[in-house]
């Protein structure tokens, strides 16, 4: 019963955002929403590898950049957007599979620093090979509409969340979490740790490329090297841990806090915006080690303990945890 209810809830949210897209055409709100969707998709994609399978990758932006690069080049070359995205995902999947094998031989901090080195190497190469700015053609700029990118970004985040939810509930997801909890024990019970890590690595890369495609379709002009930058990986990780690692909702809540919070800060105190964001961010990390979701659960547990009689009415067991807090 609870899976059907939660699916209905997710559909309700999707329809609400879809309607929101057409009601308003306040450009700043649309931009914020699109940025939130892209960050939510990117953070959720990182969460698949980092949250479910417990492999902390610091080179995730390479796949975000790859997805953006291929989609943009093909789409500006007069190719239909959906086809360009499919090709981008296919190429990213191949690259991820090729890179994943050697990378996943490393464990723990060595995997993190190894993927960081790879990410920086790809970032420098992208900068050297594609030095020129990538802007939309002049006439397309003058008729630029936010509704298109809005729905693409919404579609992308919906797909990423759907895949995450399917994965988390599937046998595949279970295998990944076993690897996360204790890799030796998992491989001892016949779970091929490398296989699950590879699958998580490729799925995470493809979803990141999808987020990159949404970025490429939405952005007016940027340097192709930009989506490869390590800053995207750091921000994605920040969002996941502030929201709640290993959960479905965590990255979503985290991206709202990140995008909306940063925007409000930059308009209220522009000069010291970077300073205040740094301080605010540290306070959140220190006070909520488990992220918003765990804080929500703890708060919820307090409330539900108070409203014990609630249980009869709603028939939903209060205080059930959404999966333990992980590394």
């Amino acid at each position: 019963m609870s899976r059907w209810v939660s699916t209905m809830v997710w559909l309700l949210v999707l329809v609400a955002f879809a309607a929101l897209g057409s009601i308003t055409d306040d450009e700043r709100l649309m931009t914020l929403a699109i940025q939130t969707f892209i960050f939510a998709a990117l953070a959720s994609s990182w969460n698949v590898l980092g949250g479910f399978a417990g492999q902390v990758s610091l080179g995730h932006a390479a796949f975000f950049g790859l997805g953006a690069l291929i989609t943009r080049e093909l789409w500006l070359g007069e190719m239909a957007l959906p086809l360009a995205i499919v090709i981008a995902l296919a190429v990213t999947a191949a690259v991820a599979a090729a890179v994943g094998l050697p990378m996943l031989r490393f464990r723990g901090i060595y995997f993190s620093v190894g993927t960081l080195a790879l990410g920086v190497a790809v970032w420098i190469t992208a900068g050297n090979v594609w030095p020129g700015i990538s802007s939309l053609p002049a006439d397309a700029l003058r008729e630029y509409e936010f509704t298109g990118p809005y729905y693409v970004a919404l579609g992308v985040v919906a797909v990423v969340v759907a895949v995450s939810m399917w994965l988390k509930r599937s046998k595949l997801g279970l295998g990944m979490m076993a690897v996360r909890e204790d890799e030796e024990a998992a491989s001892a019970t016949g779970v091929s740790a490398l296989a699950y890590k590879m699958i998580a690595f490729v799925i995470s890369a493809v979803l990141a490329a999808l987020a990159g495609a949404a970025f490429a379709f939405f952005s007016v002009s940027y340097y192709p090297q930009f989506p490869f930058s390590v800053v995207w990986t750091f921000e994605a990780i920040t969002i996941v841990f502030v929201g709640g690692v290993g959960t479905i909702v965590g990255p979503l809540v985290g991206s709202v806090f990140f995008v909306v919070g940063r925007d409000m800060l930059s308009s209220t105190f522009p000069e010291i915006q970077v300073l205040t964001f740094g301080v605010l961010f540290i306070v959140v990390v220190l006070l909520l080690p488990g992220g918003f979701v765990e804080a929500g659960q703890r708060l919820f547990k307090l409330v539900s303990r108070g409203g014990a009689d609630q249980k009869a009415k709603t028939g939903i067991r209060p205080g059930e945890r959404e999966g333990k807090e992980k590394t």
Partner: protein
């Protein structure tokens, strides 16, 4: 051609010494506190500005002002420890790495913003009488300013090694690094060891900063570049080990120097990273480390 190769190799070793000096502080903080301080590069930046100010205001040469810069940065290290990292060390090892990564990422933003407010965004560098002086050995010129970076790195490494192996405090530090609860059972005040180790780590960053502002240039955004190099060096040397850091740094510098000759400038960074990955895949515990691949 051979002159180019030799000079590039030597220049690579010199800049590698700098990578080692920056990595020394990071290795100490990670080795002892198991804290990954991504803002270590920002401490180097602040050290660079400190040396620059002492030079421009008081006219003291950075090589002479290094002890003062060390103390100033060590003090900043104590403040940062008390404000932030004191809470991180309460977690168990795995959570410490995750939380210290997040907190130091926030610290990067704060320190950069403060640097901009205090020093503006311009590039600053210390130019002394001997700035263009160099030793000529055969076809190769060894600039004094860059050589001093390497010399300071070696001296710092030796001093750290002496501290860790010859003094009782050093035993306490190494004991804490291996097992903090056992160390406290031996009567070691682990909190104090953490604070002092972090202060020394910041002080070493200050020394590196002085050398960066002497040999290169300082602006608020140089931090992350140096942190990335230091991170590669400490993993290359073997995580957790505080030996062989400067050697690993020089190796990385050498690889980059030679890479620039054959592969060409734009890809010198890429080649060094690829070589690092190859080395890592054959010796997961690093060149000098003993620990298992998984920390």
């Amino acid at each position: 051609m051979t002159q180019l190769v030799l000079q590039s190799a030597v220049s690579g070793l010199l800049v590698g010494g700098m990578y080692g000096l920056v990595a020394l502080g990071l290795a100490l903080a990670f080795g002892v506190l198991k804290v990954l301080n991504v803002a270590h590069g920002e401490l180097v930046m602040l050290g660079g500005y400190a040396a620059f100010l002492i030079f421009t205001e008081r006219g003291i040469d950075p090589l002479l002002s290094m002890p003062l810069v060390f103390v100033v940065l060590a003090f900043i290290g104590v403040v940062l420890y008390q404000l932030l990292f004191r809470f991180v060390v309460r977690f168990d090892i795995e959570k410490r790495i995750k939380n210290s990564l997040l907190i130091s990422f926030g610290l990067v933003l704060i320190l950069q913003a403060i640097a901009v407010l205090l020093f503006t965004g311009d590039d600053r560098s210390i130019v002394t009488g001997y700035s263009s002086a160099a030793w000529v050995v055969g076809m190769v010129r060894i600039p004094w300013v860059r050589l001093s970076g390497l010399v300071v790195a070696v001296i710092a490494a030796v001093a750290l090694e002496w501290l860790l192996t010859r003094t009782t405090f050093g035993h306490a530090v190494r004991g804490t690094a291996e097992d903090w609860s056992l160390a406290s059972l031996a009567g070691v005040d682990v909190r104090r060891v953490y604070m002092i180790a972090f202060a020394i780590s910041a002080g070493l960053a200050g020394l590196a900063g002085s050398m960066v502002s002497l040999g290169y240039s300082v602006n608020p955004t140089i931090g992350l570049g140096w942190t990335l190099k230091a991170l590669v060096v400490i993993v290359l040397a073997g995580l957790g080990s505080m030996r062989g850091i400067v050697l690993a740094g020089m190796l990385l510098g050498l690889i980059e120097g030679l890479a620039s000759v054959w592969v060409g400038g734009p890809y010198r960074g890429v080649v060094a990273l690829v070589v690092f990955l190859v080395v890592l895949s054959f010796r997961p515990q690093g060149l000098f480390g003993r620990g298992g691949a998984y920390v």
